[in-house]
Symmetry: T
Subunit: 68 residues, 12 copies
Amino acid sequence: MSKVFKMIELVGTSDLNYEGAIQNAISKASESIKEISWFTVEEQRGSIKDGIITEFQVILKVGFKLLD
Amino acid sequence: MSKVFKMIELVGTSDLNYEGAIQNAISKASESIKEISWFTVEEQRGSIKDGIITEFQVILKVGFKLLD
Amino acid sequence: MSKVFKMIELVGTSDLNYEGAIQNAISKASESIKEISWFTVEEQRGSIKDGIITEFQVILKVGFKLLD
Amino acid sequence: MSKVFKMIELVGTSDLNYEGAIQNAISKASESIKEISWFTVEEQRGSIKDGIITEFQVILKVGFKLLD
Amino acid sequence: MSKVFKMIELVGTSDLNYEGAIQNAISKASESIKEISWFTVEEQRGSIKDGIITEFQVILKVGFKLLD
Amino acid sequence: MSKVFKMIELVGTSDLNYEGAIQNAISKASESIKEISWFTVEEQRGSIKDGIITEFQVILKVGFKLLD
Amino acid sequence: MSKVFKMIELVGTSDLNYEGAIQNAISKASESIKEISWFTVEEQRGSIKDGIITEFQVILKVGFKLLD
Amino acid sequence: MSKVFKMIELVGTSDLNYEGAIQNAISKASESIKEISWFTVEEQRGSIKDGIITEFQVILKVGFKLLD
Amino acid sequence: MSKVFKMIELVGTSDLNYEGAIQNAISKASESIKEISWFTVEEQRGSIKDGIITEFQVILKVGFKLLD
Amino acid sequence: MSKVFKMIELVGTSDLNYEGAIQNAISKASESIKEISWFTVEEQRGSIKDGIITEFQVILKVGFKLLD
Amino acid sequence: MSKVFKMIELVGTSDLNYEGAIQNAISKASESIKEISWFTVEEQRGSIKDGIITEFQVILKVGFKLLD
Amino acid sequence: MSKVFKMIELVGTSDLNYEGAIQNAISKASESIKEISWFTVEEQRGSIKDGIITEFQVILKVGFKLLD
């Protein structure tokens, strides 16, 4: 039977960089969804305090196969 | 640990205005999701009958924190 | 036979709010087109004088069924 | 009370055509969601092997009414 | 003298596929406009009932030469 | 009463430049529509033969007031 | 001499509605810029607490003539 | 070593449907490029004569691995 | 130290063509900003009276280096 | 057999205007590609020195038929 | 009174990575603007010499509260 | 004579980060193209296995001068 996938939208954060923010979002989502196999970056933002970036924020979509 | 948020997409409706349509969608979603903290408007549409707007429709995304 | 619809693009104005600007455009179009059944908001703009909004302007598309 | 809808994002696949890929995604989603009433096509892609399309892939959103 | 074209926006429907929905819109428009020579697909949507696609809907623009 | 405008989409052509292509479209439309007051450029294209541009093509929208 | 305008980007907020959020941004900007004559809405967002919209946020651009 | 892919843009045509137009473009490209493994649909258009679609046109990107 | 640039958004006008409208905006901005080094065209519009283009309008962004 | 076209992306430059920048790109490409038959403008930019436009830059796609 | 924010557009550069390019732009802007509190990434580009990235460039918008 | 550039689209991959994925694509392309001088990031994606990012993927365009 043909495969069907679902995509959900997450916001990951990190005080290090965007790669960390993506991994944090995926780690959290993987606690309840086992089959996550790809992601796309939708938007990159961040917070600033006193001229310093305090948080990198990434909006991403993650895709996973719906089980039969 | 870094925060992670989820965003879901809703369509709210109202016969009054767009602000009401947004609030209606959020009120409904808040019955099952406690931590909704922001929304973005994605699209505004509506229905017409006999030259009168009968329904304002708004597609919005709402974001909420995933609990640890 | 399958239904076919036409969409036309209008600009409505109001000194009150966007909902009024949409309704004004639809009221005008309904004088000559009877079957308008939906609209989509494409763009929202406005005019300002002395720091006060004097006109809300909305670009919208309205759709109506082509009669057999 | 005003209606509220939810939209979720799916990827359907088919080795025949895009219409089949959409139907496959909806059939799968309908196993757990009863009230799906519309969809929008977001993106069309596909896989190729030896110069032949082996899979049509469609990213779509499906909308359904949230029950009271 | 240089050619000038007009483009109008239509929604075609079909219970078969998108190609049929496009052709249905063009057939209807051709009853009153003779010179339609091209189209572009703007959006693809559809209706669902009981997990089955009941209608493919396509928003398209059709272009035709304005006669001298 | 509040003003309402209609926008229609045209394709103008010229073998000189884009400004000429826009003016040609507007001149043609003005034969039947008196109140055209603004335009927006949507897309710029062209035809080539033997390495030379033979036609500049511009897709534009023109707006005009609907009379009371 | 030909006119030249500048556009700046603002975020207005209101606990009432989007029209109020736009007016608030323009009122603030008008304290230092006298010639603001139009605006365009770029994005609409908002904050939520306990299922209630607490703030409407609008990103807008305002345009004003540069003085000679 | 990490993989690198190239994407090129093609226009495929067919008098049958979009799936055929995509396959025709890929068949042609596969004569000179062996490793094509995916495609994305960028735009769908077509030609019309006497109210009948005479050609489906699809703009697509195809991706293939650059050999080491 | 690494370079940082600022971009501002302008609307230039001309009764001749778009190139003139861009130059007019840049000439005006250069009265107060010395280091403008590039621009991007964001939107092209215009005004019409009696079927004749009376003003070409271009929305552009101009970029300049922030001095140390 | 059905026609297949390829599109490539170029940046043309001119110190005169955008039409010249497009023609320059096409003239260069025509040295090695014989069948170029259309182009689309993707982006318009430029360089400035001392408040004067020194170079108009246009990103364009050109399309040509792949030979059998 | 309701809060109003301004957003300005910057280009940051770094020879290390995008996070560094963002921080560099914000550090520079913070010399004259104290209240910067968020940013959004609009575009990512870069320069290359002899096959090596010599500069990461990021176009970003930064937002800050307008003081009462 | 005026300069003309070509842009090609690549997908770079890395198991480290996006900067590495971009550099990998450029290194590969530089084996056959000497004059690459800039790039733009078009899309960022990635692969996941067991909740861990296994590959960062970046779609980029690289530009280079066409030789006389």
